[in-house]
């Protein structure tokens, strides 16, 4: 090879050039990789900013009896805005306190139903059973039903839940 006959100073120049070329290619390639990697993994689900939504008034509810409400929630999925429907159980104590329970079973995500005759929530999928307060009574669910922030507007007794 002709390089072996070059003097040592030329060999040093060659080594410097090779180092420079490799370093520059690595710099540009690395910079682009970091940028594009961040871009691809980037879209952090912005902490869903809950919004207070009107879910009827207390006059529609019976004390201590969970009532299902289907609410339309507008959700932002990246650039896509959709109106999702979500079922929420409202449990009113007959006075100033209201609780809202998610209808989503904590086991595998099926929608639970309220069985008024034995006052229990039942999941149709794998037999999960919850009490009226959402606590697990039987079956595989690992956690109680999720609670959703809820309040009664003192002005007009309408129920607001935060979704």
């Amino acid at each position: 090879m002709s390089h072996t006959t070059e003097t040592s100073s030329l060999g040093g120049r060659r080594r410097t050039l090779i180092l420079f070329v490799n370093a520059t290619v690595a710099l540009i390639g690395g910079g682009l990789s970091v940028l594009l990697g961040a871009f691809a993994f980037g879209p952090k689900a912005r902490a869903a900013e809950g919004r207070w939504i009107r879910a009827g008034t207390t006059s529609d509810l019976k004390p201590d009896e969970p009532v299902a409400r289907i609410l339309a929630v507008s959700r932002v999925d990246g650039w896509y805005r959709e109106r999702a429907r979500e079922t929420v159980f409202l449990v009113w104590d007959g006075d100033r306190t209201i609780r809202a329970l998610s209808a989503t079973c904590t086991h595998l995500g099926c929608q639970v139903r309220w069985e008024a005759k034995d006052k229990k929530f039942r999941c149709p999928c794998h037999g999960g059973v919850y009490g009226a307060d959402g606590a697990v009574l039987e079956g595989p669910p690992p956690r109680p039903l999720a609670t959703i922030e809820a309040r009664i507007d003192p002005a007009d007794t309408s129920v607001l839940v935060r979704l």
């Binding site: 060659r14 050039l17 090779i18 420079f20 070329v21 520059t24 290619v25 710099l27 540009i28 910079g31 682009l32 940028l35 594009l36 961040a38 871009f39 691809a40 980037g42 879209p43 919004r51 207070w52 939504i53 009107r54 339309a72 507008s74 990246g78 650039w79 896509y80 805005r81 109106r83 607001l160």
Partner: protein
């Protein structure tokens, strides 16, 4: 590690491939002028990469394209990635021109490199195709209207004008079918064609060898790697830094969403098409085809035939006065036309202007129509102000006429909305999605509801309104409030020949006071 590399080499022989790539023998004296091809290759690679990644989020539908681009702009790295892609397109045009001028100046297209030259010209055409198709994709006002102009220019094609325009358009109007078609061209057809042609171009370059300096120098050829490679990567690095600086400095422009009904928007082409559009202005009417097709066609034909026009072995530009002169004059013409086009380009529509009376009036109509019942912080739908809406005007008008269309069963039907009130609400919603309501005095708000409902059909204020009656922008310089009030109540009492209908029985006293005081205050 070394053993692994040896193992890979034994199975693939990759070192031989690398040697073939890197040990290209270059004629002595090959220098900085010969780095432009690598700069182009580098820039095109950046376009290919950033473009591929942009498709992660882009949606090519009229309903979502704009939202998805705005979403990309909002991502941390998105601004930069889109910036690299956007400004990279301009950089490629500049690098392409520089590369081509170098080839012309050095006579590098001479035998045996004629086909290399032709493949380069084809690449040039494909890259202009990229610019044109990519420009539409953000689906903002710029994109939409530039495409309207492009497709109208394509109609000037002799004989097959309508067919060409139809192929470009996809559907009967510029819309969903146009967008998906240009998107396909931009991300599938053109990239495949460009990559294949670049491979052919580089293969031919390697097969014929680099043309080298115009006067062959003595000495033995030197390998590409590392000396010339170092020059190449230095240039690529400098250009990349410059490009990154552009991308860093600001997100590429994204105007309001495409609005086919907006008659006030003035289209502006991207800067490298300004010269061409300027040329069109000099060929009005039936001569337009000369500016749109004949002149560019002659230039393209001249470039394609250059190796056969400029025969003879001489490559020194000082001895090829005719060709160098012709190219210099053409280049000066392109630069001159671009400069003229730049100077003549219409001012961008200032969106920071105050709200129009129609928009202010629309706000009041929206309140009257009780839009806030659903469109509120605690409602079913997003609030009207402060939430970005990219719905087109037809969609909003349709929603106003029939809210059930959008949200079945979610709201009782409203009373019939008057056509002008609906138009005002549409204007208001589109404005409010861009900027917060700045607040106007009660007099302006009150007269805006009158103007946007009754006057706007015939009268203009600040460019918005009908043409049948006089422009009221400076009405206060002509009449005082009392005269105006009398006029509006019954024009024929003031002037028996008046054509304006009387409004005395349609407006309340408060409305009459408001609109006449307001008009009198417009000086």
């Amino acid at each position: 590690m070394k053993r692994l590399v040896d193992w890979v080499h034994a199975r693939t022989g990759y070192r031989d491939a690398a040697r073939v790539m890197l040990d290209e023998p270059l004629p002595p004296g090959t220098g900085w002028f010969f780095t432009l091809g690598s700069v182009l290759l580098g820039l095109l690679s950046i376009q290919l990469l950033t473009g591929a990644f942009l498709t992660l989020y882009y949606a090519a539908t009229p309903d979502h394209a704009y939202d998805s681009v705005r979403f990309i702009n909002g991502l941390g790295a998105g601004r930069l990635v889109r910036g690299l892609h956007h400004y990279g397109a301009s950089f490629i045009i500049v690098a392409l021109a520089a590369h081509m001028l170098r080839v012309i100046a050095f006579g590098s297209y001479k035998p045996p490199r004629e086909v290399t030259w032709l493949s380069g010209l084809a690449l040039f055409a494909l890259i202009l195709g990229f610019s044109l198709t990519g420009y539409l994709l953000p689906w903002d006002q710029r994109a939409y209207w530039a495409t309207v102009v492009t497709i109208n220019v394509s109609k000037l094609t002799p004989v097959a004008g309508e067919i060409v325009a139809g192929v470009l358009r996809g559907g009967s109007t510029i819309g969903a079918l146009t967008l998906t078609r240009w998107y396909s061209a931009h991300v599938i057809f053109l990239p495949v064609a460009v990559v294949l042609l670049i491979a052919a171009h580089v293969f031919l370059m390697r097969r014929q060898g680099i043309s080298g300096p115009v006067r062959p120098r003595s000495g033995s050829p030197t390998p590409f790697f590392p000396s010339q490679a170092a020059r190449d990567v230095t240039m690529v690095l400098l250009v990349t830094i410059l490009l990154a600086a552009f991308a860093w400095r600001g997100a590429p422009p994204l105007e309001g969403p495409a609005d086919p009904t907006d008659a006030t928007y003035v289209p502006r082409p991207e800067w490298y098409f300004l010269g061409l559009f300027q040329l069109l202005k000099y060929f009005p009417g039936k001569w337009e085809v000369i500016g749109a097709m004949v002149v560019p066609g002659v230039v393209a034909g001249f470039l394609a035939l250059l190796p056969w026009i400029d025969r003879g072995p001489e490559r020194d530009p000082r001895k090829r006065r005719l060709v160098v002169g012709a190219v210099t004059i053409s280049g000066a013409a392109v630069i001159g036309l671009t400069a003229l086009g730049w100077r003549d380009r219409p001012a961008s529509s200032a969106s920071s202007d105050g709200w129009s009376l129609r928009e202010i009036g629309g706000r009041a109509f929206a309140q009257k129509l009780n839009c806030g019942r659903c469109h509120s912080e605690t409602g079913l739908a997003d609030p009207l102000e402060g939430a970005p809406s990219t719905r087109g005007p037809e969609w909003i008008a349709g929603h106003l006429a029939d809210p059930e269309m959008i949200a079945p069963g979610m709201r009782e039907p409203t009373a019939v909305v008057h056509e002008r009130e609906a138009a005002a609400v549409v204007a208001y919603v589109r404005r409010a999605s861009r900027e917060a309501y700045p607040g106007y005095p009660p007099l302006v708000e009150a007269s805006a509801t009158v103007f946007a409902r009754y006057c706007i059909g015939c009268h203009k204020i600040e460019g918005d309104g009908g043409k049948d009656g006089p422009d009221l922008t400076h009405e206060g310089t002509k009449h005082d409030a009392a005269t105006l009030r009398r006029w509006i109540v019954d024009p024929e009492l003031v002037d028996p020949d008046a054509e304006m209908p009387s409004f005395g029985d349609r407006l309340t006293d408060a409305q009459l006071d408001a609109i006449s005081t307001y008009l009198a205050s417009r000086k």
